[in-house]
């Protein structure tokens, strides 16, 4: 196999992992914009997506097409409950409390998942078979196409929601200036709730489409959540294309790193990028610097 094909293979693998990171990253930034916090429990919604789908498939014997939307719905309900119980009482608290409460939430959700579903690893069935598809010498699974397709669809939907619907515009207004948004009659608390639901749903969907390839267990949320956050940081916490590009860049770099340099330090790549971006370009890879106002 020649080097070009190898490179293409790295690229394709990286893009599919990156797409997952991107979806999780967008979830982070939606919440960040709505209320200015980083939700450390975001990764747990990714886990919930996969585990709930599995539960619906195995215990309730639902067909896959019904289990997936139901799982997404349940995950977004979990997001709603989480916002109600943990975030809303702390709206005025310092960032430290919010960091800790979301960490507490993530431990709680993870613990509940372990108690309910055990600590085994599981695999979701692929959406449409496991026969590899060859692209110029490199190979893909049908599931990869699902990942790309759903990611693109979600990004378009996301864009449309935030630019063309009243709720989306209201949420954007809240992120720019919550006080002003409140003054013009937007229910800021409701928008925060929506933000949590949407981001939980995005996370869950990411978890579901990835699970046939990556397996799922009660503790997959930690690492995926952190990688998703790296994607969001590279994208400058934007809830749009920049984060998607961030996720893809991260996925491809990891894949290239694992293939060409050393797989042991693959995870370090993500966090080194995270640190570099935070220190050198806190506005993200593509953002314009903002002048700090007191």
């Amino acid at each position: 196999m020649d080097f070009g094909t190898q490179l293409l293979q790295y690229l394709l693998s990286g893009l599919s992992t990156g797409a997952i990171y991107a979806l999780i990253g967008i979830g982070f930034s939606i919440v960040y914009h709505a209320i200015g916090i980083i939700n450390f429990a975001q990764g747990e919604f990714v886990m919930l997506g996969g585990m709930v789908t599995l539960f619906l498939l195995q215990s309730l014997h639902l067909p896959l097409w019904a289990a997936i939307p139901l799982a997404v719905l349940l995950a977004s309900l979990a997001g709603l409950v989480f916002e109600r119980l943990a975030i809303r009482p702390l709206r005025k608290a310092p960032p430290l409390s919010l960091v800790i409460v979301t960490i507490g939430g993530s431990i709680l959700i993870r613990g509940l998942a372990m108690v309910i579903w055990g600590n085994d690893t599981h695999r979701l069935p692929s959406f449409s078979g496991d026969d590899p598809i060859t692209v110029a010498g490199a190979t893909l699974l049908p599931q990869h196409l699902w990942i790309f397709g759903i990611t693109i669809a979600l990004i378009i939907l996301n864009k449309w929601f935030f630019s063309h619907t009243i709720s989306g515009k209201a949420m954007r207004a809240c992120s720019y200036n919550p006080r002003a948004a409140g003054l013009v009659g937007i229910d800021v608390r409701r928008m925060t709730m929506f933000a949590f639901m949407i981001s939980a749903a995005m996370g869950a969907l990411a978890g579901i489409i990835a699970a046939p390839l990556t397996m799922t267990s009660y503790d997959v949320g930690i690492m995926l959540g952190l990688k998703g956050f790296c994607a969001a940081i590279i994208g400058g916490m934007s809830s749009g294309l920049a984060t998607v590009v961030g996720g893809l860049v991260l996925g491809v770099l990891e894949s290239l790193g694992a293939g060409l340099i050393s797989s042991g330090y693959k995870d370090a790549i993500a966090f080194v990028i995270l640190l570099l971006i935070l220190l050198l370009r806190p506005q993200g890879l593509f953002g314009r610097p903002e002048s700090e106002r007191v």
Binding site: E290, S291, R293, V294
Partner: protein, 250 residues
Amino acid sequence: MLELQGVTQIFGGVTALKEVSFSIRADEITGVIGPNGAGKTTLFNIVTGIYRQTAGRVMLEGRDISTVPTDRLARLGMVRTFQNIELFGQMTVLENVMVGLHSRSSSGLFACLFKMPWAVAEERRIRGEALEWLRFAGIEELAPVTAANLPFGKGRLLEIARAMACHPRLLLMDEPAAGLNSQETLELSALIRTIRSRGVTVVLVEHDMDLVMSICDRIVVLNLGQKLAEGTPREIQDNPEVIAAYLGDE
């Protein structure tokens, strides 16, 4: 004492200050006035190094302080207060003032950790001096109160006491009378005069015209980021441009 030379500040395309130049003489009380959005607070933020100006220079006693970090300015003798008082809410009133003495004390990490005799002696000096400054501002009976629980007017006095504890030669006050009732304002103006009488140069940004006109020696008027006029209170009151700016604004 303090000299601004062509100070310009641009925030993402919006010009907040445009080539503002004026100087402040030692031992005077100078008022900086202007309608809302004239750029007064921005000016203070630039002078105290919280913002870095887009262009121009700020000189303190003949020295360019444009690039001097905020915390060094206190050692150079310049301190400010804030429009929405910025107290250390979880600390007591006395501790707040003791922080004011930070720049005039020197015990290092090692001495503080191990309570070296010189650090203990210094601590005693800091405490004594801080109490004096509380007495100066007339709030010594509030010393053990947590600062966050102070009424607004007392908070203002605490902020002034804290700033004075730095032994500034130049004190910048950002709307010191905002939120005070007329009795408190009266006390404040007396306090400002006392401060000046101790040889401290004072610069006020203020909306309360009565206060400004009664205690300031000189006044600088800003409008829409530019200097409109400069002079004694009388000259300013008679300046047609100033009147137009204020009337036009309201």
